[in-house]
Symmetry: C2
Subunit: 183 residues, 2 copies
């Protein structure tokens, strides 16, 4: 949107457009914030309530749902994780007594994920302190204008991401030569 394609390039192969100073500064600062903010919130939540951020997200979504239960794929849509990650995570949470798996009557393939009493107690105990942590580190250091700006920024990036993931890639060039990581 902001810049035209580079004049004189040939099918994008030649000189990459490196980031200029403003761009690099914003990108670096954003990445530092991203890493440090998540780490701090995670550490505190774990220390104060014995939950990871991932646990918290699952529990919040379940506790907002009617009857404290959701189909697994609905929960997956809400948290935007890979199916397998969700499944593994629920297995661990089930082992800890926070959620329970229930079969679905109308669709034999389906699973309901339900909050247990312990799970509900855990999220209710954790939430006030966690919200305070989010306020202290994030919300309360930003002006309303900054909150709105960040919202718009996020939406712009997300719009591009879903446009690209729907389609094939960043563009149609095929770039065959990269060595795949051996596993």
């Amino acid at each position: 949107m902001t810049r035209q394609s580079f004049p004189g390039t040939f099918r994008g192969v030649s000189e990459p457009r490196w980031l200029d100073e403003r761009e690099a500064r914003a990108w670096r600062a954003y990445n530092r914030m991203r890493v440090q903010l998540s780490a701090q919130l995670n550490r505190r939540l774990l220390r104060d309530a014995g939950l990871s951020l991932a646990d918290y997200e699952v529990l919040v979504n379940l506790s907002d749902a009617p009857d404290g239960r959701l189909r697994a794929f609905q929960l997956g849509d809400a948290v935007k994780w890979e199916k397998s990650r969700l499944s593994h995570h629920l297995t661990r949470m089930q082992r800890r007594g926070l959620v329970r798996r229930e079969g679905c009557a109308t669709d034999g393939r389906g699973a309901f994920i339900a909050l247990t009493d312990d799970g509900r107690a855990a999220i209710e105990r954790a939430a006030p302190k966690h919200v305070e942590d989010v306020r202290r580190a994030f919300v309360d250091v930003l002006t309303p204008a900054q909150l709105d700006a960040l919202d718009e920024i996020s939406r712009a990036v997300l719009a591009r991401l879903s446009a690209d993931d729907g389609a094939g890639g960043s563009d149609p060039r095929v770039r065959g030569g990269g060595d795949r990581r051996r596993r």
Copy 2:
């Protein structure tokens, strides 16, 4: 900065100040961007160059250093990881032939981490495409004003985070009762 402390609360214990609509919207949007953007960049870098974002960060820092080598703690300062994460990661990268560990002559405890020829080749091969990916998903969808806004936002958050991590916690209340996670 933006809001006063809640009138009628008693030592912060009573009603938590939940997020209002603007705050919640920004927080949710930011988190979606954070998760999806990293995931997409990671996936593409891995697919096209066989490197993870973590590998990339290490290699960039080394290739910017004189002689392509740094003391481990300098590298750690640059990437802001835990010492043990860095050490584990370097072990894996060493096994893949991307870096090499060298002893330090003047400090027997110290280790130098050096880029191998393969490591330098890998980062030089990966960088142009990765920068294009960052441009496409992030830099090029934002206006210069938005880039500057994000820079300021990040700095504000980071300033609060380092103030808090330097000190004891979010505030002096001790909150002893949370059940620690059993391991």
